[in-house]
């Protein structure tokens, strides 16, 4: 037994609330990641793929016209420029390589917006792995281009008809597949959620966002940003952006959740902002939307990637410990920021980071220097947004 282990708990949050069938696989995964992460050869291979295939490092872009509107300097970390169009490829490549290392040739993934599904399908095509992606039927409807991409890449997309037919149900179904096929399959969870060691592994694989951005902004500005702002569904791009800055006490960390139709409406995806009793969903204890009986509530957001009633356990702990702050932005405001960013910068953001952009552009602050994680591009959202704006 190695002395090294990954975090199972972040404060009181996290844990491994899964069927016994999966416990040995989680232990195997933890050991494999500890070994891989310390293996120069593995790191070199991952680094090569991230650089030559995915397009890392991504640029840090000074958004001058957004800065003029906000009245402060705004930099965008351009994860939208990565291959497949979002930060999800960082995690998918890393975990797919890990699956190969573990001798598992079948990959299970879930997807909400389709970005993680596309990233996983892409990594599987590259590494010659079988790929099965679970996707809520409602998300299949609103993210059609990504469904077509996954098909073209050779993945099998399985529609999930349970519940609200969105991300929550897709994750549940992916976990059930894993329970049934654990011997030969690896589950690439797409966000910093799930049972330990997943939240730690996903963070390790996404922290390149903040590591790069921190070095880039120091080089450009000669100082750290006053705020790092990222959208939070499960929270993988946010934890990736935050991690490098956690020890920098002067840097404010802000996670922007989906307020949907408004926090008061009850139709939102903002468990960290709304507060309330923590609970268990998908294998970990964290901030959660639920009723008094512990039944998980349906989330709502115009953006499929934020349409999730749970949250990563490390975010819940960053909130409780006071290190990060969580706020929420409505569907309507996110749509406005989506359009404004397109018109001011010639960048069509995904609806998910449009929530973070709205916050930075419209909520007053003393900050003079903001760093926003532009986690993905908005091509996938065009049809949905144009329909909502009444222009299709």
């Amino acid at each position: 037994m190695s002395d090294v282990s990954l975090e199972h708990r972040f404060g009181p949050y996290g844990g491994q609330y899964v069927p016994e069938t999966l416990m040995p696989a989680l232990a195997e995964l933890e050991a494999a990641w500890i070994s891989a992460r310390a293996d120069d050869e593995f790191q070199a291979e991952l680094g090569r793929l991230l650089r030559d295939y995915a397009g890392r490092p991504t640029p840090l872009y000074l958004a001058e016209r957004l800065s003029a509107v906000a009245g402060r300097t705004i930099y965008l970390k351009r994860e939208d420029l990565l291959h497949t169009g979002a930060h999800k490829i960082n995690n998918a490549l890393g975990q797919a390589l890990l699956a190969v290392r573990m001798g598992k040739r079948r990959i299970i993934a879930e997807t909400g917006a389709g970005q993680h599904g596309v990233a996983s399908a892409t990594a599987c095509a590259l590494l010659d792995l079988e790929c099965v992606v679970y996707m809520g039927a409602e998300d299949i409807r609103r993210q059609a281009p990504n469904v077509q991409r996954m098909g073209l890449l050779g993945a099998t997309v399985v529609p999930v008809e349970a519940g609200a037919r969105t991300l929550k149900e897709a994750v549940s179904e992916a976990i059930r597949d894993w329970v049934s096929n654990v011997a030969d399959s690896h589950y690439i969870i797409g966000s910093a959620v799930g049972p330990a060691p997943y939240p730690a592994i996903v963070r390790d694989l996404q922290r390149c966002i903040g590591d790069e951005a921190r070095a880039q902004i120091l080089e450009r500005e000669g100082r750290l940003p006053q705020r790092v702002i990222a959208c939070v569904g499960g929270g993988s791009n946010a934890i990736g952006a935050f991690t490098a800055f956690v020890a920098d006490e002067s840097v404010e960390l802000i996670g922007v959740e989906a307020a949907g139709e408004g926090l008061a409406s009850g139709r939102h995806g903002a468990p960290l902002t709304a507060g309330g009793r923590p609970g268990v969903l998908h294998g970990s204890l964290s901030a959660l939307l639920q009723d008094d009986e512990g039944q998980i509530a349906e989330a709502h957001s115009v953006s499929a990637g934020l349409d999730y009633p749970g949250s990563g356990p490390e975010h819940a702990w960053l909130r409780d410990s006071g290190r990060a702050t969580y706020v929420a932005v409505t569907d309507e405001d996110a749509l406005a920021a989506f359009e404004r960013t397109a018109q001011l910068e010639g960048i069509i953001p995904a609806l998910e980071p449009a929530h973070a952009l709205h916050f930075a552009l419209n909520v007053p602050s003393d900050s003079e220097l903001d760093l926003i994680c532009l986690s993905g591009r908005g091509d996938k959202d065009l049809a949905e947004v144009l329909a909502l704006l009444g222009r299709s």
Binding site: T21, L22, G283, G294
Partner: protein
């Protein structure tokens, strides 16, 4: 008599090759009907009853039990409603409650265990609470005389089986296949699974997940199971038949006969 003793007596005194433990989705299709089904189970020869609390996101369950849980919740099922069934049923048979961990956290572990004990529940099965996460729940159960029943899986390592077997009270819920609940055709692995867990526990070994015909139940007993748990097959019967209580009673009689 404590829940643990009551469960033990049900296994030793069942008078057949293996105790028969049918699963009931509490509140499905509605509360009165599910109570009638439960009584049908008892009339049909059940030795214990596994009583499920419906949950919105049941990770260990296949499509039949998922759908029944969703329908039960839509029909207004609550924990207290399910415990009303337990209160009535525990007059006749030991009731082992099956619920997911968030239901326990929602009420608070101490209050939850006090409430189920007050409803006459003898044992508790929590499929998403592996040993590492179980201590608080298990301690509260022990203090209340409720048997905390852990699960062993075909994928469990020997090291884990030792710990799980030692922690088993009432019985050891042994999962027959790596998978979710649901009817399956294959009984060839039963003997291996039981042989693996048996040396690790002094508690009775009950086999569940996938057992869906009287022939399979008989095969489980042949393979050495002390108890046989029938879930999805009965829940499907409840979903498909016009008179679910009678239909489920008939089916339970067939399982009981196979275990004679």
């Amino acid at each position: 008599m404590s829940g643990i003793d009551r469960i033990g007596a049900a296994f030793t005194g069942c008078g057949r090759r293996a105790a028969l433990m049918p699963y009931l989705m509490g509140g499905f299709p509605d509360l009165p009907t599910s109570l009638a089904i439960a009584n049908g189970y008892a009339d049909g020869g059940a030795d214990l009853i596994e009583l499920g609390v419906p949950f919105s996101d049941p990770l260990a369950d296949g499509p039949v039990i998922q759908a029944a849980g969703t329908a039960a919740l839509a029909a207004g099922a609550t924990l207290d409603g399910v415990l009303e069934i337990a209160t009535e049923l525990s007059e006749r048979l030991p009731v082992v409650l099956m619920c997911y961990s968030n239901a326990i956290l929602a009420r608070g572990t101490e209050q939850f265990v006090a409430d189920i004990a007050a409803a006459g529940v003898s044992g508790l099965i929590v499929p998403d609470l592996p040993l590492e996460e179980a201590p608080t729940t298990a301690e509260n159960c022990a203090a209340a005389g409720v048997a905390f029943v852990p699960l062993a899986a075909p994928t469990s390592t020997d090291e884990r089986l030792t710990a799980i077997g030692a922690a088993a009270h009432g019985f050891l819920y042994t999962v027959a296949v790596a998978g979710t609940t649901g009817e399956r055709g294959d009984e060839s692995a039963y003997a291996d699974v039981i042989a693996r867990v048996r040396p690790h526990t002094s508690a009775p070994v009950a086999l569940g997940f996938g057992i869906s015909t009287p022939e399979q139940a008989s095969a489980a007993a042949d393979a050495g199971a002390d108890g046989v748990i029938i879930g999805s097959r009965l829940v499907r019967e409840a979903a498909e038949q016009d008179d679910p209580a009678t239909a489920c009673r008939t089916l339970v009689e067939q399982f009981a006969e196979a275990l004679r």
